[in-house]
């Protein structure tokens, strides 16, 4: 056990619990629980989005991937960043303008039907669960290694912390934990980068040079690939760039700000922070390859997940290692907190309040349901994580991105931009995307190994077009037979609202005029 790491761990836990205590007195109802009452400022939300987004896969996974594979690992950094252009240009503002507590709220603002909401909620739960498993399995592995505690104790400990954060502090606590984490993660990554670059007189080119001296030119070049390998790279990149705009725990962050302008500003702040972070990932990766060595990284973890903490130890001994480990821990709890809110919203707000109770639940009941669902989601995720110890973290995150891009994004885009879109299209598209992305993974080399039916590891190149196609064909087939048509909100209203953020009362109460 590393005593410094232990002290840093306790400090992070104490700080987050303090924030939770402060937030708990402000967490008074369903609206504060799900979206912090919509009162988060743009820059605060920008920091919180960064804290919500930069997960264990980014901090531990990419550093390891670049250390072991060189350029290939950097695809993840590029894709995770460019994805914010899709978010900013196409979905952030319309979603802020249409949504209330959950992604399903935005979809049902146009098609107010229980079955649309139920399928949208199912997608949110599936995506969030894959993502959460990745974080918990990763967190468990780090804590086993650094605190010398059993895996099950680590997972249960994180699960209990999560439950406390969410049940007591709701979205307000989550937001501030994510902000603290973003600051810690940037500080930790910056310190590691400075530590590496200082060895090269702050000349990054000398660092790249040192990497090629040790590992050959392949370390800084895209690998030679056959057709299947090339298609797999493309498939991964499609899911990366389109997935973010379908991730429920990121999308609900836009519901925590008061208006579209704040939503827009928060994406700008987030894009700068996230971009600067990813720009430092090659320094972490190559730094680890040079100062720790590939053999030592693989020995610790075959996927390279411990490369960043190992680099910290090589550069600054136990104290630096302790700090970076605590940063990794904060990284994971902040992401898991966002995921628990997203998944519990789908259970409590979508399934319980709207599908089962038909929207007829009192504020008190809704708040209660939200908290019970948060406990349920935390326990469920804990149990799954205990059984999923051997799963590869990067694979689970890539799966979450693929499902988000295939199942959520097509329906969201068509709902905002396509007048003819209907409920049958929405349901067909969402289910096609979900089933095809999960199904393709089940018959891929990731699961079936040598005997895989689908040759690629990444389902996106097939499942994302299928998601769009499902929406389109469902709409055409459903067309005139769609009996729910009478229940639609007229497209003019969605079209104007999504694009302007004008609220009902604003165009009814405007400007005095004489009665004629």
């Amino acid at each position: 056990m590393n005593p410094v790491a232990f002290a840093f761990f306790l400090a992070v836990i104490a700080l987050t619990l303090l924030v939770t205590y402060w937030a708990s007195r402000r967490n008074v109802g369903a609206s504060t629980h799900y979206v912090a009452g919509g009162q988060i400022k743009g820059w605060q939300n920008g920091l919180a989005i960064s804290g919500d987004y930069l997960s264990a896969a980014s901090f531990l996974g990419i550093a390891g991937a670049i250390a072991l594979t060189g350029f290939s690992g950097f695809y993840l950094s590029v894709g995770f960043l460019v994805a914010y252009l899709v978010v900013l240009l196409l979905v952030a503002e319309p979603l802020r303008n249409l949504g209330k507590y959950t992604v399903a709220d935005a979809l049902t603002s146009r098609f107010n039907l229980r079955r649309v909401r139920a399928v949208a909620a199912l997608n949110t739960i599936s995506i969030s669960m894959f993502y959460m498993l990745a974080q918990l399995v990763g967190a468990g592995a780090i804590m086993v290694l650094l605190l010398d505690i059993p895996y099950s104790v680590a997972v249960i400990g994180i699960g209990i912390l999560m439950t406390i954060y969410i049940v007591a502090g709701g979205m307000i606590a989550t937001t501030w934990i994510q902000i603290i984490k973003a600051v810690l993660l940037m500080a930790g990554t910056f310190a590691l980068s400075v530590g590496v670059l200082a060895q090269f007189n702050f000349n990054p080119l000398a660092m790249f040079e040192a990497a090629t001296e040790q590992y050959g030119m392949e370390a800084v070049m895209p690998p030679e690939l056959d057709l299947v390998g090339g298609l797999d790279v493309i498939s991964l990149n499609i899911a990366l760039v389109l997935g973010t705009a379908g991730l429920p725990h990121i999308l609900i962050r836009f519901l925590t700000v008061p208006d579209a302008k704040a939503a827009r500003n928060s994406v700008i702040v987030a894009t700068w922070i996230i971009g600067l972070f990813y720009l430092m990932t090659p320094i972490l990766g190559y730094g680890a390859a040079i100062f720790v060595g590939r053999d030592a990284i693989v020995e610790q973890n075959p996927a390279g997940n411990m490369a960043a903490p190992q680099l910290a130890q090589a550069l600054g001994g136990d104290i630096f290692l302790g700090f970076i480990t605590a940063v990794a821990f904060a990284t994971i709890v902040a992401v898991v907190a966002g995921l628990v809110i997203a998944a519990s919203g789908a259970f409590a707000h979508d399934f319980y309040t709207n599908v089962i109770k038909g929207g007829e639940a009192s504020e008190r009941e809704q708040f209660m349901a939200a908290r019970i669902a948060a406990v349920g989601v935390s326990i469920g995720a804990m149990l799954l994580a205990l059984g999923a110890r051997e799963f590869n973290v990067a694979f689970l995150v890539a799966l979450a991105f693929a499902v988000a891009a295939s199942a959520n994004l097509p329906a969201i885009l068509f709902m905002i931009f396509w007048k003819r879109f209907n409920t049958i299209g929405a349901i067909t598209g969402m289910l096609t995307g979900l089933i095809s992305s999960v199904g393709l993974v089940l018959i891929s080399p990731n699961v079936m190994g040598e005997s895989a039916i689908y040759p690629l590891e990444n389902p996106g190149i097939v499942s994302i077009p299928l998601g769009f196609l499902g929406c389109y064909i469902g709409t055409l087939l459903g067309g005139k037979r769609d009996e729910a048509r009478a229940l639609y909100t007229p497209y003019e209203k969605i079209y104007v609202q999504a694009n302007t953020g004008i609220r009902e009362e604003e165009i009814e109460e405007k400007e005095p005029a004489p009665r004629s």
């Binding site: 252009l85 070049m221 971009g275 007229p490 005095p512």
Partner: protein, 132 residues
């Protein structure tokens, strides 16, 4: 001076219905949204949005997929340009610049769109008043 507290609702109020009745009547509020969608300010907003968002999206998607496509299927990016740094890395770093530049171009346009939205509200209210 007209009474500043006077609210224009729509034909519903002109018929003498009270506020609560109006709020239960969705068909009437739909008219307001149709009116808003028909204002010249809304047409201007959507034209301006389309003129930026569609070309920008096509551009960044093409620029983005250029990297994995060229890297995976050709040797074009394998040349060293600055020291040992390959063109693939330069291209990847350019994606960061592209993302930040496009974000700020979008921001400056979108801040102008906010003014158009204010005009849509005024025009809709005026249209609503004229129709009564």
């Amino acid at each position: 001076m007209p009474d500043l507290n006077y609210r224009i609702y729509n034909a519903g109020e002109a018929r003498g219905d009270n506020d609560t009745d109006f709020k239960k009547e969705p068909a009437l509020s739909v008219n307001q949204w149709e009116r808003a969608a028909q204002t010249s300010a809304f047409h201007e907003l959507m034209r301006s949005k389309r003129n930026f968002i569609i070309p920008a999206t096509i551009f960044f998607m093409a620029f983005y997929f250029g990297l994995p496509t060229l890297a995976a299927f050709t040797d074009l990016l394998d040349v060293q340009v600055i020291g040992v740094l390959s063109l693939a890395y330069i291209y990847a770093f350019a994606q960061f610049a592209m993302t930040w530049i496009l974000c700020h171009l979008y921001l400056s346009r979108a801040n102008r769109w906010d003014d158009i939205v204010e005009r849509i509200k005024r025009e809709t209210a005026r249209k609503g008043a004229e129709s009564q």
